[in-house]
């Protein structure tokens, strides 16, 4: 749970146009330090595009992103993105250890002992100490995604962005990984932005949930999740407030899909209200 902390990230009216297609129309929100934000929305609503624009991998067609009040124009060391498809983002010619060391390779401010230590720390944090010298393709899907997360953590970013990271793993592994990310956030005190299409997951993990509409997407609502922390797969998910919030979000999305135009007109600019009908 974030203390009402400093604003770390500021996203102002960013949009992305691909020729005729307006993928993201307008997204505006703030992210505070140590917050866990889930971004949820239907398939194809530009969630990946949004994430990429935030961390500087993609240039927005409109609007801007600022972190620590500096504008983001290209990749910044404060933010790292973990992709959904781990098999296409990890390097198969490198061992787990070397994969995790990869971002540290050309950090001249660290000596090699320190680099090894950080890599070790990251790998242990995700629970893969036994797989140091194995290759990613020798590991299961869930383990590979852990490698990708460890690689991101080793870089010590301030913000970790995850693009549907658990979509390619089975349900049991997904639950494990969800809890892993929560633990990592607590341990390393990182701010997390996680994109998912799974509403339950979004609510389970987050302090706030940004609900995205179908393309051209806007942030319909930012829903504050006031549930006790640390979260538990069994207890939190059976909490009546959990169900309320997730149902509300579900309705937001489906209703929105039915009458996009009205919502658009209503919410084209900032989303201010954080709904708290939780008590």
């Amino acid at each position: 749970m974030p203390e009402n902390g400093t604003t770390l990230l500021n996203v102002q009216h960013i949009g992305k146009q691909y020729g005729d297609l307006l993928a993201v129309k307008d997204a505006t929100f703030d992210v505070k330090e140590s917050e866990f934000i889930s971004i949820v929305g239907p398939s194809g609503c530009g969630k990946t595009t949004l994430l990429k624009m935030i961390c500087g991998l993609l240039e927005p067609s409109s609007g801007q992103v600022t972190i620590h009040e500096q504008q983001v124009t290209s990749s910044v060391p404060e933010m790292v993105l973990v992709f959904q498809d781990y098999s296409r983002s990890l390097f198969p010619w490198l061992t787990v250890r070397k994969n995790v060391l990869f971002p540290l390779k050309n950090r001249s401010d660290l000596n090699s002992a320190e680099k090894e230590r950080r890599a070790q720390e990251a790998i242990q944090a995700v629970g893969l100490e036994d797989s140091f010298d194995q290759y990613p393709w020798q590991l299961s899907g869930g383990m590979q995604q852990r490698v990708a997360i460890a690689r991101a953590i080793a870089f010590r970013p301030e913000i970790l962005l995850l693009d549907e990271p658990f979509a390619s793993v089975d349900a049991l592994t997904r639950a494990e990984l969800e809890d892993l990310v929560l633990r990592l956030q607590a341990k390393f005190k990182i701010t997390v932005l996680l994109v998912t299409h799974d509403i339950d997951e979004a609510v389970y993990l987050a302090d706030r949930v940004f609900v995205l509409g179908p393309p051209p997407s806007v942030v319909i609502r930012a829903v504050t999740v006031e549930l006790p922390s640390p979260r538990s797969q069994t207890e939190t998910r059976s909490d009546p407030r959990f169900l309320e919030i997730r149902n509300e979000i579900h309705d937001l999305i489906t209703k929105d899909a039915q009458d996009t135009k009205d919502i658009e007109e209503e919410n084209t600019t900032e989303v201010r209200s954080s709904l708290s009908n939780v008590d």
Binding site: K52, S75, P77, L81, D85, W93, N106, W137
Partner: protein, 259 residues
């Protein structure tokens, strides 16, 4: 031991081969064919020819030219391929030219080469390079273009500079395709060295074989062909072995072995 296992797996193939050779021997002995001397004669001629100074005179120059040309072409092809594959505008600019050079039968460059460079080793090495470089270049380019966007994004995310991205991400990713090009290039190198020696040379295995044919020294011609066959087989096997070592991760990743 590996050899005994190889024999055990291929016993029927070896048997058939053995029978074919025996059949050849018997038929050739009986018919005294001019065009197909007995296997025994071929083998003895082979020994006579290649375990003699002739090896130095013909085989070494051929091998030397081939290697020089191949390595040069590999270096050129890979480096240019990485650049062409990474810089889209460069690729687009060179595309028709590359397509044309790929489709041209490279032996036709030999008369041109002879005009410009004479009949020396330089000509042959240059011609080998100008033939071998294309499959390597094209495959390297393709390999560089097919790097997954996720890997490129990861590298950008971690702040790698352009050259570093090519060296640490694009190049390893492209290695499977690069090796495909290198394998084809090896075949081309062989072909070019032989043909260039047939058309414009005074030594070399290609020259030797053609000359033997012209002077109707048939067993010698076969001895030369057999040497080429052995060299071809040998280099190919060496190459495959080398590839399996370097690309172990790719074979592991895709779960298959090269055919």
């Amino acid at each position: 031991m590996k050899l005994t296992r190889a024999i055990k797996n291929n016993w029927s193939g070896l048997l058939v081969l053995g029978l074919a050779l025996i059949a050849w021997e018997l038929l050739a002995q009986r018919d005294r064919s001019f065009f197909f001397p007995p296997i025994s004669t071929i083998f003895s001629t082979f020994y006579e020819v290649w375990f003699s100074p002739r090896f130095l005179e013909h085989a070494i120059p051929s091998l030397g030219r081939m290697f020089a040309g191949y390595l040069l072409a590999a270096a050129l092809g890979i480096v240019l391929g990485m650049l062409t594959g990474s810089i889209e505008s460069l690729y687009k600019t060179l595309e028709p030219f590359l397509e044309f050079m790929r489709a041209l039968p490279h032996a036709l460059l030999i008369p041109v080469g002879i005009l410009f460079l004479g009949i020396g080793d330089t000509m042959k090495v240059v011609l080998i390079v100008s033939s071998v470089v294309w499959p390597i270049l094209l495959n390297s380019t393709e390999g560089a273009r097919n790097v997954s966007q996720e890997r490129l994004d990861t590298a950008a995310n971690f702040g790698l500079g352009r050259l570093e991205v090519i060296r640490r991400v694009v190049f390893p990713s492209a290695l499977p395709m690069i090796f495909a090009g290198l394998r084809i290039g090896l075949a081309f190198a062989f072909i070019m060295v032989v043909v260039s020696e047939m058309i414009g040379s005074t030594n070399g295995i290609g020259y030797y074989i053609l000359n033997a044919q012209r002077t109707f020294a048939v067993p010698q011609m076969f001895a030369g062909i057999l040497l080429l066959a052995l060299l071809g087989f040998g280099f190919n096997s060496l190459f495959l072995w080398f590839e399996s070592k370097v690309l172990f991760w790719h074979h592991g990743e895709t779960g298959q072995l090269e055919g």
